[in-house]
Each structure stands twice: as structure tokens, then as C-alpha cells.
Amino acid sequence: MTSPDNLPEVPTNAEVPEVPAVPEPPVARRGMFGTTDTGDTSGYGGLVVRRAPQLATPRPYGGYFDELVDTLAMDDAIDRVVVDRGELTLHVKRERLVEVCQKLRDEPALRFELSLGVSGVHYPHLKGEELHAVIHLCSITHNRRVRVEASAPDEDPHIPSTVGVYPGHDWHERETWDFFGIIFDGHPGLTRIMMPDDWDGHPQRKDYPLGGIPVEYRGATIPAPDQRRSYA
């Protein structure tokens, strides 16, 4: 029951502080109904689902992260810094990637001597930076971790190779080329590693279908995994 006397007092003529408008992230999906595939409409979480915003953490980052970014002192090479779930991510301009890796490895106060390889991620909705190469580094000296991320657009999928800094990236970059089509310039032998040499396409990209065949069981047909409804 709402009665006037249990509501908070609102002073008339009060100055409403101006709230800076938060840019709303783009809409990923709209509407609850209108599925065309299976007729299964359960599980829709809302009428409008927005894409997660791209994070950029302001200082202070907390922990050793501030010290790390200060020691690196290459703010002009870093597009944005993200601290999320206790992990530091440096989004690096691709043309400066090798330089940043070199400094991360060699600077005595940084000493990220162990690289855990290159992983790719394909974000088709991020125009101009669809392909990401994600490098996880670990410093044994200081027992620290950092993630370095460089991106390239689909039309120009070039990222400089970091094999010169971390020789172990040889196979990792071949794998990322194989699966995502990111061309690592300067790699000593960028060939396919998992797929056969004459394979067409890059299977882990989002526009590459999973494939599969529908399964029939007692008259009912269950669609192939990539044809099934996603509830996201």
C-alpha cells in the first residue's frame, strides 16, 4: 500500500544534479518472439539485449597494475587499459606490439620472461577491430601476470609477429593464423598447423559454420548443434 506519508520527502525546486549521459551500448537483439527456427521461445531474458560495453578502466588500477603500467611508460602505444576480474589487460596498438612485448620482457622491473602463447578471438560486431590476438604473459621473477591484446580489422588482418621476442610464439601464431586468418607479419614460416595445408577458410571465425548433421531419433529430428536455438 502506498500512502503519501511513507514516501520520501521530495523538496520542491530542488536542483537535480546533472548526470553525465552514459552512451548506451549497441543492441544485440530485440524482441521476445518471432523465432523462425524451432518454435522454442523459452529463455529469452528481456525485450532488449545490449552488447556488453567495451571496458576502459581509469586510474588507479589497484595492486601492482599501476606500477606495471608506469614502469612500461608507453601510454602512447596503449589504446586502453582494462582491469577486470583481477586481471590486467593492455590493449596495444598493433604497430607497437613488438616494442611493448620487448620492453615487458627485458625491463628488469617488468621481466615477463614466460609467454603463455597467443590466442585469437573474433568479434565480428566490433567494426574496425574484429580480430584480436591475445597474449598472456607471466613474470616468474615478480610472480605477476599481464594480458596484452592487439587487434586488426577484417579487411587488413595483419599483426606484427612477436616470434622475435618470444620464440615460443612460433606455433601459437601459426595456430592463430590457421584458425582466425590473422597474418603475423615477420613470422618465419606462417603455415597451417592444425588444419590440412589445403584447407579453405579459418574455422574458428564466427562466420565459419560448425557443420554437423541433424540427429533423428524415433521420428523426431534434433537439429545439428550449430542450428539449435541459442538462449543468449
Binding site: 552488447r51 556488453a52 612460433d170 560448425l210 548443434p225
Partner: protein
């Protein structure tokens, strides 16, 4: 040989199957070129899966060694993007099929990090994870040592290794229902609590196992043939390991006590007492010693974890108490194997509408994971196993990438084999202990 080849560019090609080398020997005898390129595989040269080695020989010396992988690529990472987060465990467990519990745990730690529920995982679940991982470490090392003996021409270590591994397989089967590919560790905990009698069975195992490890040590530690085949073979020092990103027993055989269980503990490893085994030889024999000591240390951890599971943590939950995340059903052993427990079915069908809704939602669509990315890493028997998990906020992984230690370590093979004898190639590969299911994923 049915595949086409061009003798003008590749030189004379011989196909050798089995011990049929006469043709090659007679052919090479008259040849001007002393260089011989050998293709080992793509059948398994060393019982580790389908691996192909291309060796360039000058006499008996390997001048160039390359490994060719990809024969066991199954697209696990791609497949994950089309299943729910929980279903993912059934895929990742098949990667490195000799250490399934580790694959599951790395993946689940990544998912839990994304969900932000690391602190809410029940202690009992963590203790069971630790115990299962350490049992799994022993079984993985036993296979590594067993197949290693066989590759060098001795069948006894193989029989020993597999006999003892069988004890652990039996335990796994008793606890999870499966010998391999358990999908036992799930986001939020483990799929099912230890069945009645499991603690006693593990207790018995702990009584038997130390002697079994001693038996293997007695057989190999000072065996002159074994020493000749392994000492100063497959040398890779700390600099090489660091440059190539090699971790695990190979790194520790080069003298660096780097073990994530100590340096960046997870699942409560900081509360267990154990030592990190290191050696300084940088060779195959040192790796053997490291693995043997790790098995002994693992037994200590299993014992401590078992004490907690049977003692203070007895009766605690093994799945996170969050209706929106925790898998609702506890499994029970029925006449036709593991299935939903009758109690649970009675609960959702008879008494709680809420529970029925949660069960339905979790099983059909799964839980949503907040958008972002996380990297979780654990110390698997082969080295650092990392899971880079990306979510877009949905009920399915957006991208999962595994930093597979076998994949990274196998890159070190040319550095170990080049300049050595052709006979030592097998020893070098075996000491890396690559499992191709993990390498190719």
C-alpha cells in the same frame, strides 16, 4: 606408397614398414648424398597419439628435426561455442585424455572467475578437486614412465606403470562412473559427492602405492641400461625452456622450482604441505626423477585432502549453493548406472515448483555468464594448463582457448633432438610426455 611424390625434387623415396630397412640401406649405400630425410609417423612413433616427425639425418646424427601435428585436431574449442557452459566440461575432458580432471578444473576455474564465484565454491568441492587432480597426476606420470620404458625397449616399466595406473582408474570409475572423460568437475563444484566406501578405497590405495613407486624406482633409478639411454640426452636448459615457453617437469628438470600450486595457488593448494621437485640435469633422466618425486609428493597431498574430506568437511555440499548456477541434480547410482537421484526427482516433481523451474532452466539453457574474459591456469602433469575464457554475456562460451602444455612443450623437441643421435629422438619425445589429444585439441 600410394600418395604422389616427385622424385626429381624430393630425391629417391623409400617406404619402410616394420623392420624392413634392407632396401633403404642398399639404396643409400651407393648414394652420393649422405643426407637422409626420415619421416617418422604419422602413426604413433611413441604411443603418445598421432605425431609425425621429420628428421634429417647425417649418418646417425640428427641435423634437423621437425614435428608435424594436427592429426588429432577435433575442434574442441569451436564445439564449445555451441554448447552451454556446463556442457563444456564434457568436451574439454577429452583434450589431454591422460589428465582429464585437470582439463575440467582449468576450464571450470576460468568459468568461475568469469562468474565471480571463486570464493563461494564449497571447501569440500575444492578438497575433492585437489584429491582427484593429484590422483590424476600420479596416473598421468605412470603412463609417462611406463610408455617411456617401452619406447626404449623395456616392457617391464610399461607393465608396472599400467598395473599401478589401473588402481587409479578403478578409483576414478568408482567415484565418477567413468575411467576417463569424467566430466566430474563442473562450474560451481563437482558433479557428485564421493560415494560410500570411496574414502576407504582411497585409503587402501594410499597404503599400496608408495611401495609400487619404490618398485619402479628400484627398477629404473640405477639401471645401467636406462641411465645410458637417458643421462645427458635430450638436453634443454633453463634459457631454452624460458624462450620456448616450456613449463612443468621439463622446466623443473632445469632447476627452476616453478610450480603454480606453490607460486599462484588455486583450489586451496596453499593449505597443503608438499615440496616442489627439481633437478639440475636438464636431461631425460632428470625429468624422470622429477616425475617420480612428484608422484610421491602427490601421495602426500592426496592423504591430506582425504583427511579433510573424511574429517572436518564430511557431509558438506560439493556444489555451490546458488540456485541460478549450481547444477541442481545430485546423481545416484541406479540399476542402469548413474542418473538423477530419486530424492531429487521427488523434490522437483512433488514438493517444489521453484526447484523444478531452476532445474528446467539450468538444464535446457544453462546459466548466463557476465561478459568479459578471464585466464585461469593450473599446474597439470605436463605444465601450465591455462584456459582463456571469453563470454559475451550469454549461456554459451564466446570463445575458449586452451594453453595446452603438451602443445607448447612439443615445440622444444627440435632443440632437444638436433645434434643428437637418432636413437635419442624417441627418448627426447617421450621425456616431453606430449599427449596429442591435448596438442591438437
Amino acid at each position: 606408397m600410394s600418395t604422389g611424390y616427385d622424385e626429381a625434387t624430393e630425391g629417391k623415396v623409400y617406404s619402410v614398414t616394420g623392420a624392413d630397412w634392407d632396401e633403404v640401406v642398399s639404396g643409400v649405400r651407393d648414394s652420393e648424398d649422405e643426407r637422409l630425410v626420415i619421416n617418422m609417423g604419422p602413426q604413433h612413433p611413441s604411443t603418445h597419439g598421432v605425431l609425425r616427425l621429420v628428421l634429417t639425418l647425417d649418418g646417425e646424427t640428427v641435423t634437423e628435426a621437425r614435428s608435424v601435428i594436427g592429426y588429432l585436431h577435433t575442434g574442441i574449442e569451436k564445439n564449445l561455442e555451441f554448447r552451454t557452459w556446463t556442457q563444456g566440461t564434457t568436451f574439454v575432458t577429452r583434450m589431454d585424455y591422460l589428465s582429464p580432471i585437470f582439463n575440467e578444473t582449468a576450464y571450470c576455474l576460468g568459468v568461475e572467475k568469469l562468474l565471480g564465484i571463486e570464493d563461494r565454491i564449497p571447501d569440500r568441492a575444492q578438497a575433492i578437486r585437489v584429491m582427484m587432480m593429484e590422483l590424476n597426476r600420479i596416473s598421468s606420470h605412470l603412463v609417462a614412465m611406463g610408455t617411456f620404458g617401452m619406447e626404449l625397449g623395456a616392457t617391464t616399466p610399461f607393465l608396472f606403470g599400467y598395473r599401478d595406473r589401473e588402481l587409479i582408474m578403478d578409483l576414478f570409475e568408482y567415484i565418477t562412473g567413468l575411467r576417463m572423460n569424467h566430466a566430474y568437475v563442473r562450474p560451481g563444484g563437482v558433479s557428485v559427492d564421493l560415494p560410500a566406501g570411496a574414502v576407504d578405497k582411497i585409503g587402501e590405495f594410499l597404503k599400496i602405492m608408495p611401495q609400487r613407486i619404490k618398485d619402479i624406482r628400484k627398477l629404473l633409478d640405477e639401471n645401467p641400461v636406462y641411465l645410458r639411454r637417458t643421462k645427458d640426452v635430450g638436453y634443454l636448459d633453463l634459457t631454452g625452456c624460458m624462450a620456448l615457453g616450456i613449463t612443468g617437469p621439463i622446466l623443473r628438470s632445469a632447476g627452476l622450482p616453478w610450480d603454480l600450486r606453490k607460486s599462484q595457488p588455486y583450489c586451496g593448494y596453499e593449505t597443503y604441505e608438499f615440496e616442489v621437485a627439481t633437478e639440475r640435469g636438464c636431461d631425460v633422466f632428470s625429468r624422470y626423477l622429477v616425475r617420480m618425486r612428484e608422484m610421491e609428493e602427490s601421495l602426500k597431498i592426496v592423504e591430506q585432502a582425504l583427511d579433510r574430506i573424511a574429517g572436518p568437511l564430511k557431509g558438506d555440499p560439493v556444489m555451490i549453493e546458488d540456485k541460478k548456477i549450481g547444477w541442481p541434480a545430485q546423481l545416484a547410482l541406479g540399476p542402469d548406472g548413474f542418473g538423477n537421484s530419486p530424492d531429487h526427482i521427488a523434490h522437483i516433481m512433488g514438493s517444489s515448483m521453484e526447484a523444478l523451474i531452476h532445474h528446467f532452466k539450468l538444464v535446457t539453457e544453462g546459466f548466463r555468464v557476465p561478459a568479459g574474459q578471464a585466464y585461469a591456469s593450473i599446474e597439470s602433469p605436463k605444465g601450465e594448463l591455462g584456459a582463456h575464457v571469453v563470454s559475451d554475456g550469454g549461456t554459451r562460451p564466446y570463445r575458449v582457448h586452451f594453453r595446452e602444455p603438451s602443445f607448447c612443450n612439443l615445440q622444444g623437441f627440435p632443440a632437444m633432438a638436433e645434434g643428437g643421435q637418432v636413437a635419442d629422438v624417441i627418448a627426447a619425445v617421450a621425456s616431453i610426455d606430449p599427449v596429442m589429444g591435448g596438442v591438437d585439441r
